[in-house]
Symmetry: C2
Subunit: 420 residues, 2 copies
């Protein structure tokens, strides 16, 4: 089963927006057992759409078109699809009623002409009801191929993909159970992970695959299983059980690298542990300038375990708010094991927390020295019993150094809490 | 002049990475007077690349191919291009020497086989030297069309686009001077800006265009001029002068909305003003959890004017570290004009700064009440003379509320400093 994604809209061609839709769609289709073999983007003109659909149709069984359906556009996509599939626009009362109800729900007057226009849909299309917006999805079939048109607004597209498109595609094209398990790792590179799980990976049967999905400082490991035999009534449950066994094996081989499952973020995992242990946590940040506190507080409900943070960018703030000794700063500098240790211990006192994290480093591009190059970051985690200190040397890019420090620091806090 | 962008790589088709390259390339090409009429992505196979190049060649004068050139790939792009253009790989000593020197510079041993392979390039291609990586760019010409192949690593692609591709394309295809002026606005929507500058926009001659480039809480206004007449020796200078006049007009119509020019960020502008005024600045953040401090400290050299910040998520931290009165919190709550005023005034004291910013709000999704709905944010800016307080009500999305608060708060600080 192959799919081609076609994006319509000048805003993508002029680079005004980054196309995040198609990456999301690709991941969802892949998870459902459908391979994306090509993507393309064309402008808002009839000819470009005709050519784009023609090209897409030559390369895959399913063509998913996004964009060009909004009420303020000239509905160029819809009228061009009517032409391509040689059909007529007909009025759909149920679509009109749904859009009218949608406007009432969000407390706005019903723009009757525009809603009538949105309710005119091609007679050869199955209408995919959009409950979170005004532009309906459309599903055409021709000579065994499927053509789907969706609005380009990300949450409307995601709603229609999740509730209409993926279930229908799976029912039509995917005959075998498919399932996935994702494990999240931090602070180790793809090739080193691969070495440690080489034997595991080689032992996987042909119907189970392992994918490495890297991001800055993190790698997601995704196990995908496709039921290999006859599709019996217990096939899906058996495949799930097999994946759970393999997931547990992986957890036992690299327990030190795995911090969570599925879509969990490091800050969510740290928050969950803090909540379970009933501990209060705070940060004292120098080179990250509040970034770790920002990550922690992106999690809803974080106020339950996070009373606050001190961003001590200057020597004076490190002394005044965290009690770092002037002699420590004078002797070892702010980017040192001694300074982060005092920062972390001082932060517990100042913030009144059980566990604290302190960070001090040289984010760059300036400020490096031969023995403390740009990218050098010291971090410490402290509670009433102990204070652990670690040093890392990242790269030369300021923004990346800050982000990587966030990953390494949160992972250090996670391990500290679990070892407590 | 039209261009088609072709991306090669399975990592884009499976949705593992979001294609930010092509948005950047589109913007740069547009700025240079070259229209992108289509984009496409294909996988890492010979057939997919042959089909992709063929399709691209049918739709534009210039085809720019990115990806599939790294030393760990099988060089499938290079070998397929050799086939498409019916040529041979030849060894380039100067390319070998440059890559070898690059490895020496970054302090790594030279992987001789891999470098030799990278120095084998098609005899029909002009080599575009890559000084920031190991994969060279290639420039082919056939029947008046240009085909360019670039590595997919963003900063290598950007280096080659800026230093090789754009100057060569302009010299070859763009005969008229083109120039741009960008103004950055904050805290006003696209349609309201459009109303205020309607007369200005209508008065623009046909060879000057105004584009609105919106982002969260911000809109960039870009004036583009294409020299309309005969290309005399002073044409470029005259066009520049005309754009400067129009830019000044725009600045005079909406001086309250414009915060900067070209690619300046709000935090850079705020930093510049602080530096000029010789003032120290700090933040006291509740609902933004350190996000504004993070923005401020993303700017290199910010330690010159930013000693630090207090993230006071809890009532206790607001009282203990910022001196907010318990009675204020009890009477008005933490999300109130009174509380942010005391936070801002307390922060000046605690952080020892000339100017402070305080923020307290309900980021959501929980915590809203009928009179303080989710998205309600109070902010205050304070110096020794005065404290200004403002309230905004944003939306329901936690991450967006935090980001919007960052924009509104930094803009408030900017105006406060300029009015001082």
């Amino acid at each position: 089963m192959t799919a081609h994604l076609l994006t319509i809209g000048d805003e993508i061609l002029i680079g005004q927006i980054v196309d995040t839709n198609s990456a999301w769609m690709s991941r969802q289709l892949n998870l459902g057992g459908i391979s994306v073999t090509g993507k393309s983007s064309v402008g808002d003109t009839r000819q470009a759409i005709v050519d784009g659909v023609g090209h897409a149709a030559n390369s895959a069984q399913v063509v998913i078109i996004t964009g060009g359906l909004g009420p303020t556009k000239d509905d160029i996509t819809k009228s061009t699809l009517v032409e391509i599939f040689d059909c007529q626009l007909v009025f759909h009362q149920e679509v009109y009623d749904r859009i009218a109800a949608y406007f009432q729900k969000i407390g706005r007057a019903i723009p009757v002409d525009s809603v009538r226009n949105q309710a005119m849909l091609p007679d050869k299309a199955i209408v995919l009801p959009n409950k979170v917006g005004t532009a309906s999805g459309m599903w055409f079939e021709r000579d065994g191929q499927v053509f789907i048109s969706l609005p380009g607004v990300p949450f409307e597209m995601e709603y229609l993909m999740t509730n209409e498109v993926l279930p229908r595609l799976k029912a039509k094209f995917v005959s075998r159970p498919i399932a996935h398990r994702t494990l999240q790792t931090a602070c180790e590179g793809e090739s080193n992970i691969a070495k440690r799980i080489e034997t595991f990976e080689e032992s996987l049967p042909a119907h189970l695959k392992l994918a490495y999905l890297p991001a800055l400082g993190q790698v997601r490991l995704r196990l995908t299983g496709v039921w290999p035999g006859e599709v019996t009534s217990d096939a899906a449950a058996l495949l799930d059980a097999e994946l759970d066994v393999k997931k547990t094996e992986l957890l036992q081989i690299i327990p030190d690298l795995i911090y969570g499952e599925e879509d969990e973020s490091l800050q969510e995992v740290v928050g969950k542990i803090l909540r379970q242990q009933g501990k209060q946590f705070g940060t004292a940040e120098s080179c990250t300038g509040g970034y770790v506190a920002h990550l922690i507080t992106l999690v809803p409900g974080s106020s339950d375990y996070f009373p606050g943070s001190v961003v001590s960018y200057s020597y004076e703030m490190k002394s005044k708010l965290l009690g770092v000794k002037a002699s420590t700063l004078a002797t070892f500098g702010a980017v040192s094991a001694e300074a982060v240790r005092e920062m972390a211990e001082g932060a517990r006192e100042t913030l009144g927390v059980d566990v604290s994290l302190a960070i001090s480093g040289i984010a760059g591009p300036g400020g490096g020295t031969p023995d403390k190059p740009v990218g050098t970051v010291w971090m410490a985690v402290s509670d009433a019993q102990r204070t652990l200190v670690a040093r890392h040397v990242f790269g030369r890019d300021r923004a990346k150094n800050i982000q990587l420090t966030g990953v390494y620091a949160l992972n250090m806090v996670r391990k500290f809490l679990l070892e407590a």
